[in-house]
Amino acid sequence: AQSVTQPDIHITVSEGASLELRCNYSYGATPYLFWYVQSPGQGLQLLLKYFSGDTLVQGIKGFEAEFKRSQSSFNLRKPSVHWSDAAEYFCAAQTGANNLFFGTGTRLTVIP
C-alpha cells in the first residue's frame, strides 16, 4: 500500500543545534515529495519539494532535504535551528492522482 511514514512523533532540539526529520515513502514509482510546516492555528506552508534531478533540495528558511532512492527516504535537515522553527512538520507525496498524501507529522520543540 502507498504510504508516507514519519517515524518521530516529537523531537526536541536546542536552539542552534542541527536538525534532521525523517520521512520514508512506500510507492511503486518515485512520487513527487514535499515538506510542509504548520504553525499552531495556521495552514500549511511549503518548505521544499523534490521532483527529479539533484537529490539535495534547498528550501525556504534555511531548510534542505535529501532524496535517497535506495532508502526510500526524503529527510529534512537544518544546520542551526532557531526558536521560530518550533512547529509541526509534514512530509507528503504526490503521484499521478495529483493529490497529496501526508505523513502523520513530527512536532518540533526548540529549547533555549
Binding site: G41, Q42, Q45, Q94, G96, N98, N99, L100, F102, T104
Partner: protein, 113 residues
C-alpha cells in the same frame, strides 16, 4: 494577492446537523482540493474540484460533498455530522498541473458536540 481564504474560521455544530465550509482559491488557480486534519494527524485528502466537477475523491463517505463555482471558489458540505467529523478542514488551490505546489488556506476548525 490574498492567497487562499476560508470561512468561517471556527464552527460549532451538534450531531446530525449539516455544515457548509467555503474556500476562495489563490488568484490564477483553477483547482481546489479539500483535506481533513484530525487532531494529531496529517491532513487526509477528501476530494478535488476542477471545472466545477469532482475530479478525484479520497476515502470519505457520501456525507461529504462539494461544489465549485464558475469563479473557482468552492464549498464543502457535510451532512449528518458525527463526533468524528470534528477536525481542521483545509482548502488548497493549485493550477491543474501535476506536481504544482498546492497553496493551503488557514483552515476551518469544526467542532461537533
Amino acid at each position: 494577492d490574498a492567497g487562499v481564504t476560508q470561512s468561517p474560521t471556527h464552527l460549532i455544530k451538534t450531531r446530525g446537523q449539516q455544515v457548509t465550509l467555503r474556500c476562495s482559491p489563490k488568484s490564477g488557480h483553477d483547482t481546489v482540493s479539500w483535506y481533513q486534519q484530525a487532531l494529531g494527524q496529517g491532513p487526509q485528502f477528501i476530494f478535488q474540484y476542477y471545472e466545477e466537477e469532482e475530479r478525484q475523491r479520497g476515502n470519505f463517505p457520501d456525507r461529504f460533498s462539494g461544489h465549485q463555482f464558475p469563479n473557482y471558489s468552492s464549498e464543502l458540505n457535510v451532512n449528518a455530522l458525527l463526533l468524528g467529523d470534528s477536525a481542521l478542514y483545509l482548502c488548497a488551490s493549485s493550477p491543474l498541473h501535476w506536481g504544482d505546489e498546492q497553496f493551503f488556506g488557514p483552515g476551518t476548525r469544526l467542532t461537533v458536540l
